[in-house]
Symmetry: C2
Subunit: 440 residues, 2 copies
């Protein structure tokens, strides 16, 4: 039987345990799944392919997994900068969000985020926003794999006037997207300080009923820890553990201010931690103890957070920055070695999202989510070790081809699923109203 | 009289004090110098131009100034990674350097660095390496502005068997390149711990005789501070001050471990500080107190350091990282605001190198060193403020055109002065010997 697609002409980095790089390797795809990984000569001899993608002497590897973002917030990129956190959030981001965000603009911002993500080599994201049905449609059309939750807060959101309506929307989403090829429907509760204990428990029950991820912000700022500790007598992590809602399906974003006991709970309940190094630095929130999490076997990987606090969705840049940050702060250049960073960008991210059986490595049986990284710029020579190159020298601009679920979505750095010039024009037109407010 | 070159079709950011962005602006160049900056309609009405460069709706701004690097060490990019500092340096970098570096390979590595720098929007660098005569020829041919010193250490270097010969070579370089359009000849002393007091004084006298920059590594590691303090009874900064060799022509790289008194000396003697955030983090050296330096009025800007410890010459990335780092470590999101970062990348870097009368801003009378930054990718929309865009969202891959001293050296992201494919092939061939050593 013929292959649908063969990716060849480069060095394959399968990211499977113990499997070395395959020089002049190839990956064969059928029905959206990887069916063979090996030397190109062997793969090409097995069967012809309907489509061939040439890596042009670059690297062929799993796509990057962005474990935490707010896709549609690309529309608020750069709307306010260099301000104290409270002023930034309350005087700028929230008003802009209220003024701008409806189902149509969420769709537009999500499409912009999908375009940016795919071109940066990100093949899977975990979103956390509103109007989730529109988000799901949009990422599916763009060909981006995504965990898509509708978010619940104890007050009105852009899509749900009440938490009760949010719960209904969440259930509808979980039913509609069950078993979807690209969209993993999920539940999101904003945070321990903005959702009541009763609603948090309802959320966890809903997620459990559907075996769905439960996404939540957790221990992001010192303020949050002080508030919860004052009100509940325990840390935010312990509070969620006491409520019985932590599980191996929990995706906890941030976990910056966590105690040693908190780390023990995250490990015990097999919580997935989405660390957002750039956003945490930019907002002055702090630095999460990621090396300590890794040492304790906690599932931890990186997220960009939303573009309002990053300002990009360039996960490779953020992971590289994290690697440097932890070496510098620990004073230990052996901390966070290159291969470990690359694992976090791929299979580590898949584990955090509960998708390690489907994506994160290149091996037969997994879905075909992969990227080709070009080695055609001066920064790519000399190249002694591909992992070191990716961890310290490569840039997202080097991502040349992107395949998600077996579909070529970026070829020669250009999007095949989105009309980029039209998209950029649409965003400029819609955000002109926000700009007028900013300038005025 | 006609213009040689007009750059138009974008928003001009002159980076001059108080001068706002010029929408639909233009820059006119004659004889390598800027002769007019203003609205495009006005400039175009003044005279025709032999050559027109279109920014395609992007930003037109001064090129970036890399205040500290070791150009030829691009050949050692990634040769050893994730190792303790002493092992990395003594068991890998030094042996590879001894095996690989001669006049021809220094030329090759310098050409590679020039290619990478120009494509990343860097129009001026401060080098610190050996075989300076070859470095000077190479950067001049590439069209890159550079401060080029021959380096002195108290033992044999790849180019000079003794310090006495290094002093002779330094004098010859200073004489030969006096008044050169692109090359600023300079003196480099490796560090307070590797050059004797007598030689440091001779170096400073030579630099003073020619009015040349004196480049030196200073207070990079805790080890250095402890060693100098034990031997001299004062900190490395105070030791150089006591020797009488600090001046407004000193370019001091690193200054990570500096006391409050050291900061006072750096301010008093108007020393230029080249901070290398990525290298300092990657080697576990620490974090320089850059915000404190800025607060005290010390001239401070960014450098990449050599590619062996970075691993790129992507100064924009490094400055962005520094901005995030200082916000995060201080817990204050107002620290290192966008405009301040952009000043450090341009006019601030020029000040550190003593070149602020020649480069760093776009204004009549300065040399024409400028870049056009494209706004054609998803990360460029929406765009509320160009400085915030450059500080948080732009990538060096967005650098589309580069002009140095009035010469177009990069057009549509391609080098005009260097045959990039041939260069990459040459580097791969030469470093194959190093790779064999690494693998073996």
């Amino acid at each position: 039987m013929d292959f649908d697609l063969i990716i060849k002409g480069g060095t394959v980095l399968p990211m499977t345990p113990g499997r070395a790089a395959i020089r002049d390797g190839a990956v064969a795809v059928r029905g959206g799944a990887i069916v063979a990984v090996g030397p190109a000569a062997e793969i090409l001899a097995q069967a012809p392919a309907a489509e061939v993608l040439d890596a042009g002497g670059g690297l062929i590897m799993p796509g990057f997994v962005n474990t935490h973002t707010h896709l549609a917030m690309t529309l608020l990129r750069g709307v306010a900068e260099d301000l104290p956190l409270k002023e930034w959030l309350e005087a700028h981001i929230w008003p802009a969000e209220r003024a701008l965000m409806n189902a149509d603009t969420v769709e537009l911002g999500t499409r912009l985020a999908a375009a940016e993500s795919l071109q940066a080599g990100v093949t899977c994201v975990c979103d956390m926003y509103f109007h989730a049905a529109r988000v799901a449609e949009t990422v599916a059309a763009a060909g981006l794999r995504a965990v898509v939750p509708e978010s619940l807060i104890d007050f009105a959101t852009p899509s749900c006037p009440t938490p009760e309506i949010a719960l209904e929307r969440q259930r509808a989403l979980l039913e509609r997207y069950r078993g979807h090829a690209l969209v993993v429907p999920a539940v999101a509760s904003h945070s321990p300080y903005s959702v009541s204990a009763a609603n948090l428990v309802k959320e966890a029950e809903l997620a459990e009923e559907f075996g769905a991820p439960l996404v939540i912000h957790l221990a992001e700022t010192r303020w949050e820890v002080e508030k919860i500790t004052a009100e509940k007598g325990v840390t935010p992590v312990a509070y969620l553990a006491d409520l019985g809602i932590l599980s191996d399906r929990t995706v906890a974003a941030h976990c910056v201010h966590v105690s040693d006991d908190d780390l023990g709970l995250l490990a015990e309940f097999e919580v997935g931690v989405a660390s957002n190094p750039v956003s945490n630095l930019k907002l002055g929130s702090g630095v999460a103890p990621v090396p300590q999490m890794l040492a304790r076997g906690i599932k931890v990987a990186f997220g960009t957070d939303g573009a309002a606090s990053n300002n990009t969705l360039d996960l490779l840049r953020d992971a590289q920055l994290a690697g440097l940050l932890y070496k510098g702060l620990s004073g230990d250049p052996t901390c966070m070695p290159a291969h470990s960073l690359l694992e976090m960008l791929t299979i580590g991210g898949a584990r955090v999202l509960g998708l390690a059986d489907r994506i994160g490595t290149l091996e037969a049986g997994k879905r075909a989510d992969l990227i080709c990284v070009a080695l055609d710029r001066p920064r790519a020579v000399p190249l002694f070790d591909p992992f070191a190159h990716l961890a310290y020298a490569a840039r997202s601009a080097d991502v040349r081809h992107v395949v998600v679920d077996g579909r070529v979505v970026v070829r020669d750095r250009e999007l095949l699923t989105i009309d980029a010039p039209a998209l950029l024009a649409d965003v400029r037109a819609v955000t002109e109203t926000v700009r007028a407010g900013v300038s005025g």
